[in-house]
Structure formats: C-alpha cells, structure tokens
C-alpha cells in the first residue's frame, strides 16, 4: 500500500528557508523527487510482475537476454544497471528456476556467459505484452513528447560526470 495518512498536512513551511543551517525543503530535492517518480512508475508494473512471480530486476535480466542474446555478467550489470553482487544472486536464482543458463567463457575463464532458456522465453512471451500495455498507457497519460523530453533530461543528469 503506497498511500500514507493524509491527516497531518504541512505545518509552517516558512520557518525554514531562512535558516542557512538547515537543508532545503525535501519536496524540491532531486534525490527524493527521482525516488518518488520511480516508485510511482514501478507501482504500475510491480503487481503484474508479481503475478508472474518475478521481481523487477529479474525481469530486467531476462528481458536483456531476450534482446541481446548471449551476454556476460559484466555486460549485464552494465545494461541492467545492477551491481555485481546483486547480479550474482539474481543469476543464481534465475538459473535455479530454469529461466536462464550460465556457463564459463571458453576464451576467458573469469567470465560468465548468460543465455535465456526456453522457460525464460515463455516468461518473456507472457510478460512482454502486459508490460508494453502498461508502458503505453503511462506514455499516453503523461504525454509521449514529454516522456521523450524527460528521458533526455534524465540521461543528461545521469551522464553529467562522464
């Protein structure tokens, strides 16, 4: 349940903003705004993914395998934006469930190559249409143009340091 109590609203937003010691208003903070937005978006997808008994991250991994074919763990971490230790656990879980296969790279014994399994393809086939529908509904309601603009602005923010 994402709703919180609407009972106790704002007190007096004026006793801050004058005091240089205090941090600025939480509502206009980029980290929290990004968190809120992301949560609002994921709230649309999560129940559907839960019905298919996969997590958001598991979905990202098998989806990327469906897109890109054979991928090693580093490349997966990069594409799915998942840290290596998390990815190790996710791979283990997906392999145990038979959604992916895993084998060492013959040319570089350190690398782990991942591939989607038939069972994984079945999940892709089941989830993809629903996922698409949810995304398109969202795009329509927010505005297709605005989604593009937002994606560009987010990308620019994400690459400020490069």
């Amino acid at each position: 349940m994402s709703d919180r109590t609407p009972m106790s609203r704002e007190k007096k937003p004026d006793d801050l903003g004058h005091d240089a010691l205090l941090p600025h208003n939480t509502r206009r903070s980029l980290p929290i705004a990004l968190l809120r937005a992301r949560e609002a978006v994921m709230a649309h997808f999560r129940p559907m993914l839960a019905r298919h008994d996969i997590t958001e991250q598991q979905w990202r991994v098998i989806r990327i395998l469906a897109e890109a074919g054979r991928v090693d763990a580093s490349e997966m971490a990069d594409k799915a934006f998942i840290l290596a230790p998390s990815l190790t656990r996710i791979i283990r879980s997906l392999e145990e469930r038979g959604l992916i296969t895993k084998h060492k790279d013959a040319d570089d014994g350190r690398r782990v190559l991942l591939e989607i399994a038939p069972e994984g393809m079945r999940v892709i086939a089941d989830v993809s249409p629903e996922s698409r529908a949810i995304y398109e509904e969202l795009e329509t309601r927010y505005g297709r143009e605005r989604v593009e603009v937002l994606l560009d602005m987010l990308d620019e923010l994400a690459t400020l340091n490069d």
Copy 2:
C-alpha cells in the same frame, strides 16, 4: 570497463523494435532512466554521508526532524518516502546512536513521536553545509532552470495517479 572482447558481438540492436514480442530498448525505459539518474545524483552525496557515518535514509530522517520538529512515524514515512518497516529499523538505529529520541503519543497510544536529539543536531550542523555545497554544484552544472523544470516534470509523473 564497459568494453568487452570485440570478438563475439552477437546481434545488432536493430533486429528488435520490429518484433512486437520483445520489450522496447532498455536505454529508453523510464524506470531504468530514473534509476540511473538517481544513482548519478546520489554518487555525489554518498561518499560525504559515509564519511559522517550515516546512510542516505538516516540523513533524510534527521533532516526532516530538524526541519519540522516533532513528527510521528507515519508523517515521517510520508515525508521521507520510506516504508514503515524500513522506518522502524532506521528509527531503532538512530535512537541507539543517540541522534533522535522516541516516545509514545499521549493522545494516541498507537503513534510514535520522533524528535531530534542534540547529538543529531550536531550531525545536521556538520553535514548540512557539505550537502548544500554538493547540491549547489550539481544545480549549477545541470542548470538551475533545468533542475526546476525537471522537478516539476518528476512531480507530475509521481502524481499521475492521484
């Protein structure tokens, strides 16, 4: 470190996007774009917070207490955008470290009232200037105007369902 052996480049990214079965490109996905952007922003703050031995969430909690004074747990969950079970743990940890105090509401025995402790105020005083500096550096580099626009767009996305 995103580069791999150029030997086994499997498929072109173009053979999808025409196949309605497959999900659309990960790079233009709102959930991941929001995640990336958030991570990029937090990367600026996290090392500083770590030097002061507090987590991002702990910082949000004490910062809100410094802003708003006495706050009950539900209100805190709402403002800091932290789910109740996480908040329970964070409160326990902050109280053990002496950064906040906690007591039951006399008028409603279910509620827990939180207040910042002197030790917490010391952390606020230490961290706030650094946090501000980082945020302002970020704002300057991204553009003050653009940050405002982005915050508005994110807020709209977050409140699509209300």
